[in-house]
């Protein structure tokens, strides 16, 4: 089963400004476990790509924050999650039927609790 995790950057990732609680290591682990990973942020796409380079990871997607819908259309998956630190992250997730974690919740790596083989268990909305 395919689950997509969309990371906001500023206030969410440790490489963001301000730094958030989600470390590069956590992102790498999510990739290794098999999540589809990428970023949705107010940062320019080119800057988002540069940040993934700095993390030495290849994202499945980079996107402007308000274009989560496009991410869904272009990346088929069984479940979609976004995480971020702003109202705008929460609203973007809600409008596009993504699950959502606040940045401080995301730092607990809730996705590691998922049973990847039993998608009935995986909540889609917050």
């Amino acid at each position: 089963m395919a689950i997509l995790l969309s990371f906001d950057i500023d206030g969410t990732l440790e490489l963001g400004d301000p730094p958030g609680g989600v470390t590069t290591e956590m992102v790498r682990k999510a990739r290794d476990v098999g999540f589809i990973i990428g970023s949705c942020s107010d940062k320019p796409l080119s800057v988002q790509r540069k940040i993934w380079e700095d993390m030495e990871l290849t994202p499945a997607f980079v996107s402007a924050k308000h274009q989560l819908g496009k991410v869904r259309r272009e990346n088929p998956a069984d479940a979609y999650y976004h995480m971020g630190d702003r109202d705008t992250d929460y609203m973007a997730a809600k409008d596009n039927n993504f699950g959502f974690w606040w940045a401080h919740e995301a730092a607990e790596q809730p996705w590691l609790e998922f049973d990847m083989n039993n998608h009935e268990q995986i909540p889609i909305t917050t």
Binding site: D87, T88, M91
Partner: protein
């Protein structure tokens, strides 16, 4: 329909809001300067005195002169309604005088990427309840 933010009248604006509650749109008028004024001020901005400043009822008719759409407001109370439409209308009898409105016909509806806002179209004032006992003016298109 309750509104996210309600206006609190002060001495200068009380007559304006009172008139809204009575279904009238009024603006200030200085008879010696022959000049309308909105928003309300303590004195006529031209002669600088309040001697000849009265309240004048308007037709309430106005034309759309432009718009914006808010996606990410600094006004937290408005966040649940985002995106929402912001329209400026100019008074038919005196286009210098302009007002904010949300165009109540479209208010709160989902705004397409390219909304069709009829610039120049005539609107009529309507009064909507911002909270119990507090009416505010909004405009809707004249069909």
């Amino acid at each position: 329909m309750a509104r996210p933010i309600v206006p609190v009248p002060d001495p200068a604006t009380q007559p304006f809001w009172d008139a809204c509650n009575e279904g009238k749109l009024i603006v200030q008028y200085c008879s010696v300067c022959d000049r309308r004024q909105f928003p309300p001020e303590a004195a006529c901005r031209d002669c600088g005195f309040n001697f000849h400043l009265t309240w004048q009822e308007t037709s309430g008719r106005a034309k759309i002169v432009g718009y914006s759409i808010t996606y990410d407001s600094r006004l937290v109370q408005w966040h649940p309604l985002q995106p929402f439409l912001n329209v400026i209308v100019a008074l038919e009898e005196d286009p210098v005088i302009n007002f904010h409105t949300n165009l109540i016909d479209d208010f709160g509806t989902n705004l397409s990427e390219e909304p069709d806002i009829p610039i120049g179209a005539t609107c009529e004032v309507q009064f909507v309840e911002a909270e119990p006992g507090r009416m505010i003016p909004e405009w809707k298109l004249v069909k």
